[in-house]
């Protein structure tokens, strides 16, 4: 599969490591180009149809997988062992296997090859799932004012100077606001009974931090 992508693999990797405004630009171009790539569209739809899904399932899968691709680029999970379109397809495969298993769709059509990830890049998404994700979403979705903007830019690796420039505030104000918003979010998380329980059971050793 070959898609015309506006940035080379090397440029994507560099942006992923650097973060900030450059990464934002690269992600936008990569996602847009993949959205418009017929080869990618056909490959994913054919893959899903052959393995028990329909066109609508494939469309949902593409949207979910491409948004995951953006997050994986932010998290530097893409290491360039395959082309970006094949990596995106790898995420689709991985997600479809999960969906098929959850929906009870027969996995007869799923081959061993499907179970192999593309290259050695990490295609998995968040370690949080299901209800946990909903609780987190409830908290972060309730944040008011410009906090979500500060938080999103910070998470994308923007420097405080860049955040200030984007949101039209001074660097000092950007630093202060980002810090306050983060603190507020962490306090809300720490006060939520469901998330408290989750954290008690959470094993940091599973996160490859050490």
């Amino acid at each position: 599969m070959k898609c015309p992508i506006g940035y080379s693999k090397q440029e994507i990797l560099e942006a992923s490591q650097r973060g900030g405004a450059q990464l934002q630009k690269v992600i936008n171009v990569v996602l847009r180009d993949l959205c418009r790539c017929d080869a990618f569209d056909r490959t994913v739809k054919s893959f899903v149809r052959v393995r028990g899904g329909n066109t609508e399932d494939a469309e949902d899968l593409i949207q979910e997988s491409l948004s995951q691709l953006a997050i994986n680029l932010i998290d530097q999970k893409y290491q360039g062992s395959s082309s970006i379109e094949n990596y995106a397809f790898g995420i689709c495969k991985f997600k479809w296997l999960n969906i098929a298993s959850k929906k009870g769709i027969s996995t007869v059509g799923i081959t061993d090859d499907d179970k192999e990830k593309v290259g050695s890049d990490d295609v998995e998404g968040s370690f949080v799932a299901g209800e946990m994700r909903e609780w987190l979403w409830k908290i972060v979705g309730n944040m008011r004012g410009r906090c979500p903007d500060f938080l999103k830019l910070w998470a994308m690796g923007y420097s405080h100077r860049e955040i200030g420039a984007q949101l039209d505030v001074t660097e000092k104000r950007a630093r202060k606001n980002t810090s306050e918003c983060r603190k507020r979010l962490r306090e809300s998380i720490a006060q939520d009974a469901n998330l408290m329980q989750f954290m008690k059971e959470m094993k940091l050793t599973n996160l490859n931090l050490f």
């Binding site: 936008n28 171009v29 979910e64 979403w137 999103k152 994308m156 720490a190 998330l195 940091l204 931090l209």
Partner: protein, 268 residues
């Protein structure tokens, strides 16, 4: 890393910025300090929460791009099924069916032709005139840095979504609004384009790189693209034909003729 507070150390850990030795020391410290472990977990969930926000944003953008491209990519299943219909069973019906099919084919071709050339989208994008370049402006004008970024995205990268983000950051200025209108036009978001063009045209004087008649003409096209061809459109059109500068007055007249043509009426 010794001068960092706990929160900064946790950030360094989660960002993968600690050395092997520092990570080992951190792990050891965490084993003895339940509060530190709790803080690491809270920081981890904080990041996951923000990623949910980012993911939603990306998903909305991806959906828009996918919807925009879907018209040309797939054949609807119902159309495919139609090709599998059985052949007509009786020979006597064939001439009649052939005639009907020919008429249908002509009608379909007519509709296709009219839609391809006379639909709002087709008229808007075919007749569109490109935005003026701000660099034509005489004198040394200090441009807002967001406008500069937007111009870079608009002219050099043709990244109109990126351009919109930058121009929106620039606040309510004629420069930003003018290019916001053109960026939305390029993305076929005609309603937004009309709104920004209106804001620019409301200014008494315009910078030299903006030709008022050209902008009025582009506004008409955006109105057609948005399907907004009511009385306001008629007034704008009549005014440009009467008072506009060449060649936009004649272009406006041609547009009026096209709007009243048989094919345009067939398209709608």
């Amino acid at each position: 890393m010794e001068n960092l507070n706990n929160s900064e150390r946790i950030d360094a850990l989660l960002n993968g910025k600690l050395s092997t030795t520092e990570r080992a020391a951190f792990q050891e410290e965490m084993a003895k300090d339940a509060n530190l472990e709790q803080d690491v977990k809270t920081h981890t969930l904080e990041r996951e929460a923000i990623k949910l926000l980012l993911k939603e944003d990306y998903k909305a953008q991806i959906k828009a791009w996918r919807t925009e491209g879907s018209a040309t990519t797939t054949l609807p299943s119902s159309a495919k099924e139609r090709t599998l219909q059985p052949k007509a069973r009786t020979r006597s019906l064939r001439p009649m069916l052939s005639a009907a099919a020919s008429i249908l084919l002509l009608l379909v071709a007519g509709f296709w032709f009219s839609n391809a050339n006379y639909s709002g989208n087709a008229i808007a994008s075919d007749a569109y005139t490109e935005a003026g370049s701000i660099t034509d402006r005489s004198g040394n004008v200090q441009l807002d840095k967001n406008v500069q970024q937007g111009l870079q995205a608009y002219f050099s990268e043709q990244d109109y979504d990126g351009a919109i983000r930058s121009f929106e950051q620039a606040g309510n200025s004629v420069d930003a609004n003018y290019y916001l209108g053109h960026s939305h036009f390029k993305l076929k978001q005609y309603g937004e384009a009309v709104s920004y063009f209106n804001q620019v045209l409301a200014a008494t004087t315009l910078p030299s790189y903006i030709n008022r008649s050209q902008l009025e003409y582009n506004r008409l096209l955006a109105q057609i693209g948005a399907g907004d061809t009511g009385s306001t459109f008629e007034q704008n059109l009549a005014q440009l034909i009467q008072n506009g500068q060449p060649p936009f007055n004649t272009k406006a007249q041609a547009l009026k003729d096209k709007m009243g043509s048989f094919w345009r009426n067939l398209a709608f």
